[in-house]
């Protein structure tokens, strides 16, 4: 398996999302508060994963512009949840740095200036639930 394919599979596995369910309605992009800041738009995340272009996704601005507000996750009519895909793509980046998901309690002592702030926000959102 090519490394791109592997990464695409990894993103699907981490997010638990089947991007093929997407019907390209664009409700995610319509809901996104960071839309204008993004180079790759939320509805495009899905096709990037389908097309296994993870390289572009990982290097995109969007990866760190997503606020993890989960509006797209809430509203997606097809259960595709682009927010989760982005979250998973971030996780791929984090794992490349040999790290992994954090427990909320572990965060304060592990605070590393290298870690993107966006990831922390995302983690807080996730663990608050």
């Amino acid at each position: 398996m090519s490394s791109e394919k592997k990464q695409a599979e990894l993103i699907k596995e981490i997010s638990g999302v089947n991007p093929l369910k997407c019907m390209k309605c664009g409700k995610c992009s319509a809901s996104c508060p960071s839309y204008n800041e993004m180079d790759i738009k939320p509805h495009q995340f899905v096709s990037y994963v389908i097309n296994e272009d993870i390289e572009s996704l990982v290097n995109s601005k969007s990866l760190w512009k997503c606020l993890s507000c989960f509006a797209c996750v809430e509203r997606c009519p097809r259960d595709v949840k682009p927010g989760k895909l982005i979250d998973a793509a971030r996780q791929v980046v984090v794992r490349q740095k040999d790290q992994n998901y954090l427990l909320a309690d572990e965060i304060p002592e592990l605070l590393d200036p290298e870690l993107p702030q966006q990831l922390l926000v995302s983690a807080f959102r996730r663990y608050r639930r």
Binding site: K21, M23, K24, C25, G26, K27, C28, S29, A30, S31, C32, Y35, N36, K41, H43, A71, R75, C76, P77, R78, D79
Partner: protein
């Protein structure tokens, strides 16, 4: 000992590509009783059936096994073929080596092995088959149509025109259904009432049609050709025979606060009311929840003003029991509840409405008398946004997974009508796909765009945000331009998904008609028997079977009528001979079987028996073969094994088990 022939079908390559058909035929010759085996390209073809007939005659076969597609597909075909060749049709068994084997397995060796085992099970069963004779049951030449919308009306008219009696049961006070709520219809823009009301009048005037409005089906028993249905005629509180339909009572009624069902709750009606002016019958009902007389005992104005003396506060629900040969379900649809779609602000703003509500707003008899205005402040809107697929094509539990089919077209219609009547109003449609398969449908949609300048944007709306100034901020995306759109609108119209009438579940259960995961009634065959339910004698008309527009509904209504007429035209029906039978010598007379029989087909009688020389009178179970439907509940409940099911006997099923586990 039986003389069995085994016939293995290739089904072109459908079976032969995965199953070694000649091996199956060859292996069958080693089974007990098998004296003939062959395989052929298409067993169901005329040539294939001729081969079966020839073998039956030449080899003197007493039973045959056809290894082919599902028995649900061609069991009847092969039974008929056998019968023509002089073999009892119930000496035919099918081994399903297509749907249950070749189509689901890829490995030839494995699939062949399985096919052989399925063949063995069928041979083992047919070895124990006995010739069965179908009985006869009579057909009541009267049909029941459940639902008085356009589907029900059309079905009833077609059946009645063929000369059979039809009863329509309608839950609401008038027939007419959803179509009566519509303003104009696509793609020709006829006024809905103008084409519907003549049909309503025709139905009510037809000598063969009886209409029960404000009535519901309460209980169904019996079977094809001989259903007995209890219909509850709810107390109307107005005597149908005396009322002249003058309407004075409605005018004078002091209680006018009840939300109008007909206008989707956008305005109110009186407590004594007819849903709309052209209602049939034109006899009001008293809504007892809203009526002051019923709530407090005081008032009685309607009774006082009624010159015909038709108002009757004492009226009670009445149960009518009637016999029918066929039942047509035409229960229609409703729009889904939008509570779970908070993002569209439907419950927050009066100016966010559903398309069906817009129909009422556009209609001259509607709450705004046909003026397009905002329901919050009555102002004329300048900017209208339509949102497509609200709740349709949705895979989570908020909406429906299917396409509601009619929304693309009615939205184009609405957009066009608004642009036509109010050229200064901007209309924007947010769509995911525009689906216009149908005669003159795409032309219609293109006209909306090209001729009327309706602005279509590909991309779903994310959120509708009511603004303090009363405007609605619509946040959407334009996927083709790749930009996010924020648009201020005065009105937002939601193309809300449709769902089968919620009552259909209850009705389907009473009819034992099957229903799919979306509550649409299942058809007997998706392509070849689209208007019949798998339950014999039950037919489907209109949206209860799946989303459809008016022309399709009318076409299906006619098709359902034809099927019902085909049934009613018969004097007698052949009954399923696979019924339960009790062995008089084994029966304990314990009544256990009687307790589980859903058809009341088992009764107990004192019978003279001769049990190996002992003559005595015993209480024994007797099965009425016309009533028995052959479910087999009694056979398992019977402790002594006296009750057995013909065609699915204990020994037959055990033989199949043995053959599979061999």
């Amino acid at each position: 000992m039986q003389r069995i022939g085994v016939f293995v079908c290739h089904c072109g390559s459908n079976i032969a590509a995965t199953v070694d058909v000649s091996k199956v035929a060859e292996m069958s010759l080693m089974e007990p009783g098998v004296v003939h085996a062959e395989d052929y390209q298409y067993m169901c073809s005329e040539a294939g059936q001729a081969k079966i007939a020839a073998a039956i005659k030449e080899k003197n076969l007493t039973g045959i096994v056809v290894c082919s597609c599902s028995p649900r597909m061609h069991e009847a075909t092969f039974r008929k073929a056998a019968e023509r060749a002089g073999l009892n049709p119930y000496m035919v068994e099918i081994a399903n080596i297509r749907e249950h084997c070749s189509w689901i397995h890829k490995d030839m060796e494995e699939a062949t092995k399985k096919a052989v085992i399925l063949m063995r099970a069928a041979v083992a069963k047919v070895n124990l088959n006995a010739p069965l004779q179908a009985g006869e049951s009579r057909v009541t030449k009267r049909a029941l149509v459940i639902g008085g919308g356009i589907a029900g009306i059309q079905t009833a008219l077609d059946i009645a025109d063929a000369g059979y009696e039809v009863d329509i049961v309608e839950k609401t006070p008038s027939i007419g259904g959803r179509m009566s709520q519509l303003d104009k219809t696509f793609p020709t823009l006829d006024c809905s009432a103008c084409i519907l009301t003549p049909k309503m009048v025709e139905a009510s005037a037809h000598e063969k049609i009886t209409i029960y409005t404000y009535s519901e089906v309460e209980k169904v028993s019996g079977f094809v050709g001989d259903f007995t249905v209890d219909i509850r005629k709810k107390a109307r509180s107005v005597d149908m025979n005396k009322c002249t339909g003058c309407g004075v009572c409605q005018e004078k009624c002091p209680s006018k606060k009840a939300p109008s069902e007909f206008n989707r709750g956008l305005n109110t009606r009186s407590a004594i009311y007819t849903p709309f002016a052209q209602a049939i019958p034109n006899v009001p009902v008293i809504d007892r929840e809203a009526c002051i007389k019923f709530k407090t005992g005081k008032c009685g104005i309607c009774s006082k003003v009624c010159q015909a003396g038709a108002v009757d506060y004492e009226q009670k629900d009445e149960i009518i029991s009637e016999k029918y040969g066929a039942i047509v379900v035409a229960t229609g649809f409703d729009t889904i509840n939008l509570d779970k779609y908070d993002e569209y602000a439907y419950s927050q703003s009066k100016d966010v409405i559903t398309s069906l509500e817009l129909e009422r707003v556009m209609n001259a008899a509607g709450p705004t008398h046909g003026h397009l205005e905002r329901l919050s402040d009555g102002k004329a809107p300048k900017e209208i946004v339509f949102i497509q697929c609200v709740g349709s094509r949705c895979s989570d539990d908020r909406g429906k997974p299917y396409c509601s089919k009619i929304c693309c077209m009615y939205t184009a219609k609405h957009a066009m009508l608004i642009r036509d009547k109010y050229p200064d109003v901007n209309v924007t449609v947010f769509y995911i796909d525009v689906r216009t398969p149908g005669k003159n449908f795409d032309e219609f949609y293109r006209r909306a765009v090209e001729q009327y300048g309706v602005n279509y944007i590909k991309g779903q709306v994310g959120k509708v945000i009511p603004q303090p100034d009363g405007k609605l901020l619509v946040q959407g995306s334009d996927l083709l331009d790749n930009r996010q759109i924020l648009k201020e609108a005065d009105m937002v119209v939601l193309a809300t998904a449709i769902e089968p009438n919620p009552d259909v579940r209850k009705i389907a259960t009473m009819l034992t008609a099957s229903i799919d995961t979306n509550n649409f009634l299942t058809e007997a065959h998706a392509k070849l028997r689209p208007v019949e339910s798998p339950t014999a004698g039950i037919f489907l008309s209109g949206v209860c079977q799946g989303p459809k527009d008016i022309p399709e509904t009318v076409a299906q209504a006619g098709a359902a009528a034809v099927k019902a007429i085909g049934l009613l035209a018969k004097d007698k029906l052949m009954t399923n001979p696979c019924t339960a039978q009790s062995d008089i010598l084994l029966c304990n007379g314990c009544s256990t079987c009687e307790n589980v029989c859903p058809y009341g087909a088992i009764t107990y009688e004192d019978k003279e028996v001769n049990d190996h020389g002992i003559r005595e009178t015993r209480r024994v179970a007797v099965v009425n073969n016309a009533l028995c439907q052959g479910c087999g509940a009694c056979t398992v409940a019977c402790p002594s094994g006296a009750m057995d099911l013909q065609g699915f006997s204990n020994r037959q099923i055990l033989a199949e088990v043995d053959a599979i586990c061999r």
